[in-house]
Amino acid sequence: MPGSISFTASVSLACLAIVAALLGGCGGNEAGSPQAAVEIGGPSGTELAADQTLHVGNGTGPQTLDPHRAEGVPSANILRDLFEGLTIEAPDGSIVPGVAKSWDISADGLVYTFHLHDDAKWSNGDPLTAEDFVFSLRRSTDPATMSHYSSILEPIVNAMEVITGEKSPEELGVEALDALTLVIRLQRPTAYLLGLLTHSTTYPVHRASVGQYGNQFAREGRLIGNGAYTLDEWVVQSHIKLIRNKFYRDNAATTIDSVYYYSIENQDAELKRFRADELDITEEIPYQQLPWIRENLADQLVISPYLGSYYFGFNMTREPFKNNLQLRRALSLAIDRDIITSRITNAGEIPAYGWVPQMAGYKQVASEWAGWTQAERNAEAQRLYSEAGYSIDKPLKIELLYNTSANHKRLSVAIASMWKQTLGVETKLLNQEWKVFLATRKLMKITQIFRAGWIGDYNDVFTFAQLMHSANEMNHSGYSSSRYDELIERAADETDLQARADFLNQAEHVLLEDMPIIPIYFYVSKHLIKSWVGGRQPNIMDHHYTKNFYILQH
């Protein structure tokens, strides 16, 4: 009998080990991209609640609160409260002064001079100076910091050389003229620099803390920031509590006293906690509950356009899609995007016939067949399909790869059946857990068609345009067009905003002509927000700052 006990024990141990490995091979969790939200100034004529504590759902939670080493939406949400960059975003998403109260841009667009607020302070009362920014930008690009996002600073003089270790961080093109004047030199005019400066890789970090704790400074009891809030408590996998920073330069205009960010990656659990009034704002909404939410929580459902593109990519380095434009176009034409956004995703996503989502200052581009009826598109698809050498008797057999998730599965099944119905294509659906999927897609060895999504890192067309450049390592379709590359490079060097937009426009036309990707829809951000949360406006980056919020009497 005891023999059998030990046997059971060994079995459970073995199971434990196997479960550990298997979890690696199944399940799936979509990683995200950076994101946060609102307008300064208290409400007028409204009754505020006595308790100004905000409870926010925050997905998987942050991996680190070191702004230079952080990546992903959950970290970015919290970092916007803990730190403040040279520029910040207003509730509507427009760029407004942050630590810098004003700036001058040289005529050639290559030198930015920032004038800092003289009352900017760290959360321990130390004054915040231009030297702090010089130190921080050097640290951010220093490969020893092991930043996951530093290459976003590439427009700054010598940034790439520093990141790749060819030059020392001291050679980075940043300089403090005096305590309140900072100069950033660029290697080419970068129209989106002011927006880029709201990204956490550009946030200042407290020199003395970094000196004392090294990379471990971003912990409870150690972290010193310059944002509207400071870190009060961090329970990993549970929550992070922030409280007001009394040294924040604009503290008088802040209303919320403390904010809790909860790590809840399960969207159903998040919805229940919202319904139980434990959360004021959710990070997401479970798709399958959307009809119920529309019926019961419609007044608290906030859906708005989000700077993201959902698409499928062709592997352009392999047969059958290499050198077969007709086939690529046929497959794209045969997808009825209206059915996908109205029957499958159904949260108000916008059918996509182009690559770049709608953005201020950019004329959106769409394929010429965007205005056709689906019947016309199908007819053209069938013509191109047979032109490409396929038919009912000789059907195309392909594999479609997506990362494990109920939503991607439903969408992939629908697309496969549209191809089957219209063209007779035989599609094999393959799903892989997130990390496996990323590795497979990057290799470009076995993929044929793969799912992908791209969320803009900053509010500029370039964040989308550069992805399809042949030298971009995240260009997983292997698309390589000298014409496209040239247009992107010319846009990058252009100071005239209109001329730059024209180059980017032409580039997108080239891209859609070559069709290395199948655009499906443009994302929307989806949140449930209690009616008593004020000061929050939807914006295209879905970036929000707690300092702009307030809680109404309820």
Partner: protein, 306 residues
């Protein structure tokens, strides 16, 4: 007895070693690595990261380093939670899981044993059938179904209890997760207890006790309970393992920052050190627990010690 203890203890060492080696190889064999993300790292940064975590060394060297560190109680730095060491994460997560699992086991034992014994005494009556039907339902419904139903009823509907989180560890935060976690164990223990109690009640020594005129409550408490508990005690080892695996699900649903949640997130993120840390920690725990179960068993049944 000492000899018996030593033998059991020694056999634990190779078990633990095999566990570590297996987990070490399996997690590294899983495709995709800790630094894969949608964002492409510059080569220099990736090289620095691999160097910092010693991933650039040959596998046997990494394994040797891991064992050496482990011997000093150092589980290494977490890949995912870049500012924390795995030891810190275990230290923060384990007390939470222990409280959750301990309370669930306690509840399961108390309710399971009483319900099982009660059903055995009322064998083949309506009371017996209803208890056993309830237990069958408890075994059949998985806790990832029970848990959301409990939340919907008590948190969203009645608003008596919180829907998730741990708060400051108050009882009201623990109530629902403990019940959801204990449910299948209650059912299993009750069925075990009922079966063995019925068997014991039929044995000759109980008949003798009754013939000598002892009252039924006295017979049950003094004579029947101890032998009837044997199967339940031998089930404690597997039950602990089941509660541990169950807590992985429960912690996820209730958003409780225990080890189970670290385990799941660690595996998905290829956080090698975190997954290894939890496997080694839980593995040792199960081994130690089984050791004690064996000791108790040896005490209850002298034949085992031979």
């Amino acid at each position: 007895m000492l000899n018996f203890m030593l033998r059991r203890l020694l056999s634990a060492i190779p078990t633990l070693f095999i566990l570590i080696a297996l987990a070490f190889m399996l997690i590294r064999a899983a495709p995709g690595g800790p630094f894969d993300s949608e964002n492409q790292l510059p080569a220099e940064v990736e090289a620095n990261l691999r160097n910092a975590y010693h991933l650039d060394e040959p596998l046997y060297q990494q394994f040797g380093r891991y064992l050496a560190n482990l011997a000093r109680g150092d589980f290494g730095p977490s890949f995912q939670y870049r500012d924390f060491s795995v030891t810190e994460l275990i230290r923060s997560g384990f007390p939470v899981s222990l409280r959750l699992g301990g309370l669930a086991m306690l509840l399961a034992l108390m309710v399971g044993i009483s319900a099982g014994a009660y059903a055995a005494l009322k064998q083949n009556t309506t009371a017996d059938y209803s208890v056993m039907t309830a237990m069958m339902v408890g075994i059949s419904i998985p806790n990832f179904v029970v848990a959301p139903l409990l939340i919907l009823l008590f948190a969203v509907g009645l608003r008596w209890l919180p829907a998730g989180g741990l708060g400051d560890g108050e009882v009201r935060h623990l109530l629902l997760p403990v019940i959801a976690l204990a449910m299948p164990q209650i059912a299993y223990i009750a069925r075990l207890m009922r079966g063995s109690m019925i068997e014991v009640l039929r044995s000759p020594f109980i008949r003798t006790a009754r013939a000598q005129g002892l009252t039924m409550p006295r017979i049950i408490v003094l004579h029947a309970l101890k032998p009837a508990l044997l199967p339940v005690i031998s089930y404690l080892g597997p039950a602990t393992a089941a509660v541990i695996t169950g807590s992985v699900v429960i912690e996820q649903i209730f958003g409780i920052p225990g080890l189970g949640r670290f385990f799941v997130q660690g595996a998905l993120n290829r956080d090698y050190t975190l997954v290894m840390g939890v496997v080694v920690f839980y593995g040792s725990l199960i081994i130690i627990f089984n050791f004690f179960v064996d000791l108790v068993y040896g005490w209850l049944d002298p034949r085992v010690r031979l």
